[in-house]
Symmetry: C2
Subunit: 409 residues, 2 copies
Amino acid sequence: MKRLSLDEAKILLEKCRASLKQVDMTRGRPSKQQLEIGMRMLVRAGELDYTYAGGDARNYGDMKGIPAARELFAEVFGVSKENVVVLDGSSLSIMYRLVANAMDFGVMGCNPWREQGRVKFLCPAPGYDRHFAICEEFGIDMVTVPMLADGPDMDMIERLVEEDASVKGVWCVPKYSNPTGIVFSDSTVKRFAALKPAAKDFRIFWDNAYIVHSLTGEQHHLENIFDAAKKFGSEDMVYELTSTSKITFAGSGIAALAASEGNIADFISHLQFEMINPNKVNQVMHAAYLKDVDNITRIMGEHAALLRPKFELVDRRLFEAFGRDCPDVKWTRPLGGYFISLDVNGVAARVGELTKYAGVKFTKVGATYPYGKDPHNSNIRIAPSIPSLEELDFAMDALISAIAIALEE
Amino acid sequence: MKRLSLDEAKILLEKCRASLKQVDMTRGRPSKQQLEIGMRMLVRAGELDYTYAGGDARNYGDMKGIPAARELFAEVFGVSKENVVVLDGSSLSIMYRLVANAMDFGVMGCNPWREQGRVKFLCPAPGYDRHFAICEEFGIDMVTVPMLADGPDMDMIERLVEEDASVKGVWCVPKYSNPTGIVFSDSTVKRFAALKPAAKDFRIFWDNAYIVHSLTGEQHHLENIFDAAKKFGSEDMVYELTSTSKITFAGSGIAALAASEGNIADFISHLQFEMINPNKVNQVMHAAYLKDVDNITRIMGEHAALLRPKFELVDRRLFEAFGRDCPDVKWTRPLGGYFISLDVNGVAARVGELTKYAGVKFTKVGATYPYGKDPHNSNIRIAPSIPSLEELDFAMDALISAIAIALEE
């Protein structure tokens, strides 16, 4: 470990700026090499059979997705095919629709949220800014819940969900959480499944975006929330989501919802006004390419091989600069997902300014908290996937010198 | 012409039923042969370059669609690229979103429709049932406007739009209208563009679903509504839509919105909460395959060659049975699109029952009118695209005998 002096840090930062390099690490985007993996899917597109028992993927019909795609995600989620709907693009779109439907039409026969006065969502933070943005769009109040090492503060969640009928939802990224990278413990998952909400139309948005996104090759265990929910008869309380954005193509893949039969019927009862069917041609391509969970695991191993050195470089550079015991500089060492969560005791905004000056952009400071306001001005989300190792090394020069300067100031 | 006697008709209908054949003509779906045309697009999918200046179609970004797809639809619509957004699947989804946004957030700074008391849409009828269904979903009152030979009754539209601020929209399929097949006259288009609505947030939903869907090879003229609107400064009043559902793959193609810069900005201001980008990989494939309007015209010629004999068969069989001057049996002879609109003076429901009995399903009688209620019980939408010529001949046996029986009863 070699902590830079203020002078050394200033010299390094100016050197970064003078190089005129620009690195953008604002979002968790796959790199070009990762995108090339998915080309194997497109190469075969012309040879595939787009028909199946009861349908033709190229024609109208099958609003819930083609059978093969529903079966694939059923295996990924560990639920039955009847509980899966496969749509286009991103799980974000499905979550937006679920919230919009709840606001305008109500959840499974309940009154629309819009007619129930102010409603609230619980927002474990640091968390995913696009979850929080959906709340802002619909005027849903956000309550920040601290994110701990094994999941959100469940004492707080239990109290709020079970006492306050205006609490209608909670956002979760239960595996390789965005941005802290943690996996929810079995106990956390069980406590979610055991919730007895005051509101009948309370829903857990279980955004399992990184369900197969191990960085180490090892498959880390996350308790199946629907298995847990079965024991408490609480299956209606859960919407689980995922997509192939970081398996095939970002935003051009397919996305899936797992939910109880009642929730699926409720969702489809509105979806039928919006679309005749999702892009089923894309679903045939994905089902043929991804095949099953074993094969997805192999593909994700290829992604991990490209991503791991980048995560290791960030960790090594931070360790060399600050060690593991620096009280002012703490960061996560995720086993999967797309982010390293860095906490720089009260100087995140200043660090953001300085790195931007040096040519390196991180996710907007504060974005990982509701309303974009980090109460401790501490959290920085590092998304190391898209830069090359060389660019990343440069970005770490900027980051490390910026932290050193900001802490000294 | 040979009109069947009641006895002959009954015998023919029973013969149809006894054959146990089933023909489904409920929707305007492309046939398998038509879908095969689009396979040329997929065969090339592995060879295409998915990168472009400023982006990679396989990664996040470009919420408005890739430049090549926006340019393509700009040419199709006859507008500038800046006025085009290209999204997934169907124009239905875009229209649903536009209405949902207007209800919940308001149009370009106006109060949400939801907060303005009951709002109304004008519904030229017979028209497209899925337009009417969106109104039902959002509790928008529908006002039926008669569809004439050159477009909707514009006297009525002008009066309602200009006098009533609760009138917020009008549905139109201006070219090869669904289901009557007519093309709006220049005068109709100009009168639309010249509307001076009482409501600032009134919008024309110009669903140009069949913009390139000639059945004859001839390209029939529809006045460009944005050109007309320019003269009146009314560009903000128009949303124009189309998709490739009947050019490439139904529901698995791409769809586009053309609108003023203000409307596009308004639309995107909400879309950004729902998605990061549409399926741009599919857009690259479509742009490379469709190329330009000339090439689309050639492709549509291939579709027309498959569709035309089916439309001709329906026309010939109806003509042989009822002639052109039968007051009780009138039908359209469309130059494009997917439908023949048949009027059977007051007996449509009975005809529907009888054909169903014989094994042939048409679009639910009444569906072409708001609330599914045809005031004259007269209109039947014939969608001849999907059955083979042989199946269609059988379906016409059933239809003709059913009409003959229903009219005699």
